[in-house]
């Protein structure tokens, strides 16, 4: 690792989230660097999505803190503020704006002034148009751009959401199961895409598809019962007895 000029991009410290006594996150600590890609694996219910909820302000932790860029305490900000700091998210189940066309979905996600007044006066520029075109091309939805997003098939919605995430140009991308419902080929393509992005930004990917994780070729964190079970290169982690036992199976 090179000398960090700035502190780590995201630092979760001792985060605990409990629901009526059930600890979904248990003193979880995690650090993500600038332009780092991290794959997170772990059994169903390990707390991966909950962790993203904490980072994006959807869930308030009972304990612990989440620092972004060393100065923003995410636990005290709301969703919109966090998004404006530059944290974007793709949800586990694809959520898009059903009544909007595919291209409007992307357009809404484009990095821009988010205040109502500027929205009222905003005019679409040529560069914006190009960007939308490029993004649609990238997620292979150009042919569907005028259709309502609600009419897309499951996998198409996944792609659309990835497109929206890219449109936001966030500093940190949280990607929850991007490959679910994609063919093997598409999965590989997604991996390419993410690797590409990770050159300039930080990416946190949650996925159960080991081929995909292998393709990413990055540091892997395995969560279990709300805390880190193992961390390191995939080969190391997947050789861990506990990981095999609770997650990979024999």
């Amino acid at each position: 690792m090179t000398e960090p000029v700035t502190p780590t991009l995201l630092y979760l410290d001792n985060v605990t989230v409990s629901f009526d006594g059930f600890r979904a996150l248990n003193a979880l600590s995690l650090a993500i660097d600038h332009a780092e890609m991290r794959a997170i694996i772990g059994p169903n219910g390990a707390g991966k999505t909950t962790m993203m909820d904490v980072i994006t302000g959807k869930t308030r932790p009972n304990e612990g803190s989440a620092l972004f860029e060393g100065m923003h305490d995410l636990t005290s900000l709301d969703e919109a503020a966090i998004a404006e700091l530059g944290i974007g998210r793709k949800f586990q189940t694809p959520t898009v704006f059903d009544m909007h066309t595919v291209e409007d979905n992307v357009l809404l996600a484009l990095k821009d002034d988010r205040r109502p007044f500027s929205a009222l006066f905003s005019r679409r520029t040529a560069s914006e148009r190009e960007r939308v075109d490029a993004l649609l091309e990238r997620v292979r939805l150009t042919a569907h751009r005028r259709r309502k997003a609600g009419e897309l098939s499951h996998g198409q919605k996944q792609w659309l959401e990835i497109g929206m995430l890219l449109a936001q140009e966030p500093k940190l991308l949280l990607v929850d199961e991007p490959a679910a419902g994609m063919t093997d080929q598409e999965t590989a393509d997604t991996a390419d895409l993410l690797r590409d992005i990770a050159k300039t930004r930080a990416v946190v990917v949650v996925e159960h598809d080991m081929t995909f994780v292998r393709d990413l070729d990055v540091k892997v964190t395995c969560l279990h019962e709300g805390s880190v079970l193992a961390e390191g290169p995939l080969d190391v982690v997947s050789a861990n007895e506990r990981v095999i036992e609770v997650y990979l199976g024999r």
């Binding site: 499951h154 419902g181 994609m182 063919t183 093997d184 598409e186 080991m210």
Partner: protein, 233 residues
Amino acid sequence: MTMLSIENLTLHYGAAQALRGVSVSAAIGEVTCVLGRNGVGKTSLLRAIAGQKPITCGAIQFDGCDISQLKPFERAALGIAYVPQGREIFPLLTVRENLETGFATLKRGERKIPEEVFELFPVLKSMLGRRGGDLSGGQQQQLAIGRALVTKPRLLVLDEPTEGIQPSIIKDIGRAIAYLRDRKDMAILLVEQYFDFARELADRFVVMERGEIVQNGDRSALEGDDVRQRLAI
């Protein structure tokens, strides 16, 4: 014995056609696998079978009878169980209640959650009192499969059941499907994108493209690169 046989099925969303003359069949004691890229119409086919989407024309025969005009609950009563894509569990019902919705087709005396559901998905047992919507994505998927099993189906229709599930449980699900197949009392129709998983289970398969069946065959045909090629972009 053929449990389900579909002839020449056509289906529209408004003016847009999603299925064009699809013919598939599924036999008891076999797993029939439907493969295809995103948006080719796999889910639409399953919705047509479950009765959630009216078909434009074509025939759906179940156990020798035409069911294409029946309501979803009538099909369920005949023994069709559906695990939809996107889980579609009842978010505000508890896990137990979600499972109990499967009792609707059963006689009063049979209304018990089969042990095999908990054997397959132990996590459900520990979370019986939790609301379905609070579960993690993978847990919800397990619940959706479990819920389908409660109805004691004769035809099990699964839409990408492995989506979002951890590897060890995918293996379990694979074993479970094989076990159910080998019990020889139900037909299984499986939509799957995860090729290796499909290859291991499928007795027969069809590949869809743009709402049509472009290839079909039995397990041996899956071994070659041919099918893989078709699924590539």
